[in-house]
């Protein structure tokens, strides 16, 4: 008895500073593969009578041909069209009619589909997801409808929004050789040019069980869920192995400058962006904390300096992009009317060089650790979010339990690490500068 206590004490000392000491409770799940290659993760969590499904396909815009950009995102839309057993217009209604909610998202690396339903509708959610995994109608009617919807989305969210083109412009500047140089929204003309056969080929290549991870999370009995998963997904045939071509980015040797003139730009804006490291790299965690120090929240350095003290900008926000093969770090500042961009840049340069030279204070260090801890734990309290993260860890690292130690990796970052990555990555030669100018009044 005594021995155990001593042992426990030692253990506690040993893990101090780890997530358990901070109190994050590890998530317990089980996982297995169906014979067709579908990876299944079950995360029972009974605090509410709700069940969430996440289907994570390992396909994003970086899997597209450079003359067929926009395909992955287009498929996200097509997946709400019809299947063998679900008529057009019914997919969403089936879920919404029982009080549930559903959505989907496409990034450069993956496309995922989420559904949250009252627990007695688990089979309904699984049925729908299995239908569109293999029985989707990729036909002229659906393609034509979604062509219009996607074009409308591009117009509304990108072309007609001030700074809506920023993300594509930034990626074009930071990446020159890799498939990350374009973004999911893509170019509208490629969707128009593509034949139905091409859409079908894309579907049969990437929407296969061996390229997907299914998570069932929430209030269910494991045996029931396993049976339901097998009932609906078990008979879907395995697809061909996927050949993934990725062209690594060649290092940047001098600063890149882009000026964007758009009629709808209301205020001048400037962004800095640097290529960093892939998700999971040790430096990623230090860079994330550096983002918080620099531009997250009202007490961050850039907000305090540029927005409050010098009154140069309307707002300044961080850019942080963790990708499977690479990463981006940066910030975007919208200047106040009449303020010269050079002044904004001078203040940004000054704050960055201060960190490179002097590092950060103990208080700042503790603050960003606190904030990050709270963020991660808050997300861990949200079952749907955990479900997504589990599928993400599995797909990128084939190591689902990595999720439970994510906070540890942030807490392992030292003050010195933060200063070190600021010096290592935020250099002038590796920088992309993107400037939005305001149209001259006639």
């Amino acid at each position: 008895m005594k021995k155990t206590t001593v042992f426990l004490l030692l253990l506690t000392t040993f893990v101090a500073g780890s997530s358990q000491a901070q109190g994050m409770k590890p998530v317990k799940f089980e996982e297995y593969d169906l014979p067709n290659g579908l990876h299944v993760i079950l995360y029972p969590e009974h605090s509410a009578p709700v069940v969430s499904t996440r289907v994570y396909y390992h396909v994003g815009s970086k899997n597209e041909r450079s003359d067929r950009t926009g395909f992955a995102h287009f498929f996200e839309h097509l997946m709400f069209e019809s299947t063998d057993n679900i008529p057009r217009g019914s997919y969403g209604k089936n879920i919404e009619a029982v009080g549930g909610q559903l959505n989907a998202h496409t990034s450069l690396d993956r496309t995922f589909y989420n559904e949250d339903v009252p627990t007695n509708y688990l089979r309904l959610a699984l049925w729908g997801e299995s239908e569109r995994m293999h029985f989707l109608h990729v036909d002229a009617a659906g393609v034509e409808t979604q062509r219009q919807v996607v074009k409308e989305e591009k117009r509304n969210r990108y072309d007609n929004q001030p700074y809506g083109t920023f993300f594509p412009k930034m990626m074009e500047s930071v990446f020159k050789t890799s498939q990350y140089s374009w973004t999911p929204i893509g170019q509208a003309q490629y969707i128009d040019q593509a034949t139905i056969q091409e859409f079908q080929d894309f579907y049969h290549t990437y929407y296969v069980p061996n390229n997907a991870c299914l998570v069932v999370a929430g209030d269910f009995e494991t045996a029931d869920a396993k049976k339901a998963v097998n009932d609906y997904f078990g008979s879907i045939p395995r697809g061909a192995d996927i050949v993934r071509n990725y062209t690594a980015e060649t290092p940047q040797t001098s600063e890149r400058y882009t000026e964007v003139d758009e009629k709808i730009t209301p205020l001048p804006a400037v962004a800095y962006a640097w290529r960093t490291v892939p998700e999971g790299d040790k430096d990623q965690y230090a860079l994330d904390l550096l983002t918080n120090v620099l531009a997250q929240g009202n007490s961050s350095r850039l907000v305090k300096r540029l927005q409050e003290k010098d009154q140069l900008v309307v707002n300044i926000s961080p850019i942080v992009l963790s990708l499977e093969k690479d990463g981006v770090f940066g910030m975007l500042a919208t200047a106040k009317a009449g303020i010269e961009i050079s002044k904004v840049r001078a203040a940004m340069d000054d704050e960055i060089s201060k960190i490179q030279k002097d590092g950060i204070s103990d208080e700042e260090f503790q603050k960003v650790r606190n904030q990050t801890t709270k963020d991660i734990i808050e997300q861990a309290a949200n079952t749907g979010n955990v479900a997504f993260q589990l599928s993400h860890e599995y797909t990128l690292f084939h190591d689902t339990k990595r999720y439970n130690s994510e906070l540890d990796r942030y807490l392992a970052v030292t003050k010195q690490d933060i200063q070190r990555v600021a010096k290592k990555y935020l250099t002038v030669n590796a920088r992309s500068v993107i400037v939005y100018t305001v149209p001259k009044t006639q």
Binding site: Q22, K25, P118, Y121, N370, K374
Partner: protein
């Protein structure tokens, strides 16, 4: 090891192959409805009377607090806007901490305070890591107990409120909400409206007083949701809230509410709106009313009740079937005293009346018919489903637990919610529909361009026009389009419509019919006889049933009136009426003493019409509307005297070849209608009828 996993895979393949194929063509049926899992909660108290509700949730080490002050906007009384301002300024400084200190400290722990007010209460919430409780709770309790309401922060907030009010005057949603509250609640404290004037009157002293009276331990409840046990959290609450002064439970005393009775149409004139925002509104139910859940289910069927649904009747009808609007919606609000029923749709100007027709039709179905079984099942599935989904959100759960205490709902109100809803029958709902959604008791509020939509609305009843300050507009400046015809051409058109050659041969006329007079919502019927003779004599008798008989005798010089208690009284305001009375006046508009001008083209319920400005005997001022289509006089506005009146004419039928309107609707000082049953020409007139008895 490797071998084992291969074996395992093979086994799995075998197992899956052996399972019979599931029928994919069938949408899977629902599993049994989960036993409603509303989390158990503990209710306890601090020594100073502060009530505490604890909902344990040990998923992750975070804790959420929501403090409810049991006084809200309805307690503002003499200091309108105090409650909402108090809630907004809590974290802007306390007796010992500046706004900056508070913000910095909370940011350090990643904690954020949220606060807001409703008619019944103020809520103040925060969430933090369990390990930071002893750092965050001192700040959280300080902003609740000791706010200092610094003058500079107060001024900043007031100026933000003023610019918000300015913007709200252009927002159809805000205008509708305010107009609705004014009509539904009148002088009841729920009817409070914040204006530039009330903002100007508010002082920091008032806020301190308001806070002093209402922010007391025994007038508050604190809910704790998260990774704590009662044993852990109570000492902390005692430490940080134990010294909160006791006051007295502030019992809200609300004056009785007037039932929404009859139909009103209010048009808030927002010139050059391209859309009308139509709002049906009436008094709803108190949260504790036993019919509340049934009325609420019915509301979901009607208009979705607070969520955008695609299956509710308004959506199906006015969006899907008619395409009048993008997203109609509605709700039945929850409050201590009676809340409101409201349904809203934004529609194009041109379809304002057609959309209102459909909204009224759907509204009336709530009381006139039973909900079909399939539709009812669907609605129950949606509501219970949403209820179950909400249980995944601890913040919502805390608000629900608090509402049990705040409103005095049964303790098992939420744990039995899903089963209770599932048990309601179509008969139950119709019964409640008849009580709560009575078909002809409704305030109709339209926010739109009066010049475009007022005429369209007039067929629903008298339209009261308001300006953007929600003040009544007595007479609306009409926007008229220029006329392509000259005055002379319009008069010719009118003569054609009147069949002038036939009319010129008429020298006397007897009209009989039924008049409907509505006064303060009650309607009175009378039989009416009018006898007119050239050049300007008129006899009129209205019989409401003995002894309520009214006579009026106009001999061309005076008007004598007879009614119970009045025998031959001369109408004191007869000058306008005398000037107005000209036999076959349409043929005499250009006689000496009268003038007629063409103003332009306007809208009437009968369509586009040329508008004539008419004066008779130099004092009586009228506007006549000549239908573009057929030359009929479809409307007259009588503008002289204190109370303008407008009459709309319809149901034209020929009598001896002369088209007469057999129906007349009059709005203004009085609302009345006339349905003519017969018209006779060139009768034998007893001249004595026009003379004093």
């Amino acid at each position: 090891m490797k071998k084992l996993s291969i074996l395992f895979l093979l086994m799995l393949a075998f197992v899956s192959a052996s399972i019979a194929q599931v029928d994919r063509s069938q949408k899977p049926a629902a599993g049994p409805v989960p036993k409603s899992a509303f989390p158990p909660f503990t209710e306890t108290k601090l020594k100073n009377g502060l009530r505490v509700v604890i909902v344990e949730n040990h998923k992750q080490p975070i804790v959420f607090f929501r403090t409810l002050i049991l006084s809200g906007n309805a307690q503002d009384r003499q200091s309108v806007g105090a409650a909402s301002t108090v809630s907004a300024l809590l974290e802007k400084g306390t007796k010992t901490r500046s706004a900056d200190d508070i913000a910095k400290k909370l940011d350090f722990y990643g904690a954020e305070i949220g606060a807001g007010s409703s008619v019944d209460d103020i809520n103040v919430s925060i969430n933090c890591m369990k390990k930071d409780l002893n750092d965050v709770l001192p700040i959280y309790s300080d902003v609740i107990k000791n706010p200092s309401f610094p003058k500079d922060e107060f001024d900043k907030y007031a100026s933000r409120t003023l610019s918000g009010l300015k913007a709200a005057k252009q927002s159809p949603g805000e205008l509708g909400r305010k107009m609705g509250r004014k009509l539904t609640y009148g002088l009841h404290p729920y009817g409070e409206i914040i204006t530039e004037e009330t903002v100007g009157k508010l002082t920091t002293e008032m806020l301190k007083d308001w806070h002093g009276v209402n922010f007391c331990a025994d007038n508050a409840i604190i809910a704790v949701v998260g990774d704590v046990t009662e044993k852990e959290i109570m000492p902390m609450l005692e430490k940080y809230f134990g010294d909160w002064k006791k006051g007295a439970r502030v019992q809200p005393i609300y004056p009785p509410l007037n039932e929404t009775h009859g139909m009103t149409i209010s048009l808030v004139n927002r010139p050059s709106s391209v859309q009308s925002s139509i709002r049906l509104q009436k008094l709803g139910l108190a949260a504790t009313n036993p019919s509340f859940d049934k009325a609420s289910l019915l509301m979901s069927i009607f208009a979705g009740n607070g969520t955008i649904g695609f299956q509710n009747r308004l959506f199906q009808n006015i969006r899907e079937k008619h395409g009048y609007t993008y997203t109609p919606g509605g709700s039945l609000t929850t409050s201590l005293d009676r809340g409101i029923f409201v349904a809203v749709a934004e529609v194009r100007n041109a379809v304002t009346d057609s959309a209102l027709d459909q909204m009224l039709l759907e509204y009336r179905r709530l009381s006139s018919e039973q909900v079909p079984a399939q539709e009812l099942d669907f609605a129950k599935g949606l509501i219970t489903g949403k209820y179950l989904m909400d249980l995944a959100n601890p913040q919502l759960t805390s608000a629900k637990a608090l509402s049990i205490l705040e409103y005095g709902l049964p303790r098992d109100y939420y744990s039995t919610y899903a089963t209770r809803i599932s048990g309601f029958s179509a008969q139950d709902l119709q019964q409640v529909g008849q009580q709560v959604y009575s078909p002809n008791d409704l305030n109709i509020i339209v926010i739109g361009d009066a010049s475009q939509v007022k005429a369209k609305l007039e067929r629903f009843g008298k339209v009261n026009v308001y300006d953007l300050d929600l003040q009544p507009v007595k007479f609306l400046e009409e926007k008229l389009a220029p006329s392509a015809m000259t005055l002379d051409q319009v008069l010719q058109l009118m003569y054609k419509g009147l069949n002038k050659p036939a009319l010129e041969k008429i020298t006397s006329r007897q009209t009989e019919g039924e008049r409907n007079l509505s006064l303060t919502g009650d309607s009175h019927k009378a039989s009416l006889i009018t006898i007119e003779a050239a050049p300007n004599k008129k006899y009129e008798k209205m019989d409401f049933g003995a002894p309520m008989v009214m006579e009026s005798r106009n001999d061309g010089h005076h008007i004598y009136q007879y009614y119970p208690g009045g025998n031959g009284v001369v109408n004191p305001d007869e000058k306008f009426e005398l000037a107005r009375t000209i036999f076959n006046d349409a043929l005499h508009l250009q006689d000496q003493g009268n003038t007629v001008k063409l103003l332009g083209v306007g809208n009437t319920p009968a369509g586009e019409a040329y508008v004539l400005d008419v004066t008779k005997g130099n004092i009586e001022h009228e506007k006549w509307y000549i239908s573009k289509e057929n030359g009929y006089i479809v409307r007259k506005s009588f503008l002289s005297g204190d109370e303008p009146l407008t009459s709309d004419y319809s149901d034209f039928r020929p009598v001896d070849g002369i088209p007469y309107p057999f129906h007349e609707e009059t709005h203004g000082a009085a609302d009345m209608s006339l349905q003519v049953s017969s018209i006779k020409h060139n009768i034998t007139v007893d001249e004595k009828l026009f003379l004093k008895k």
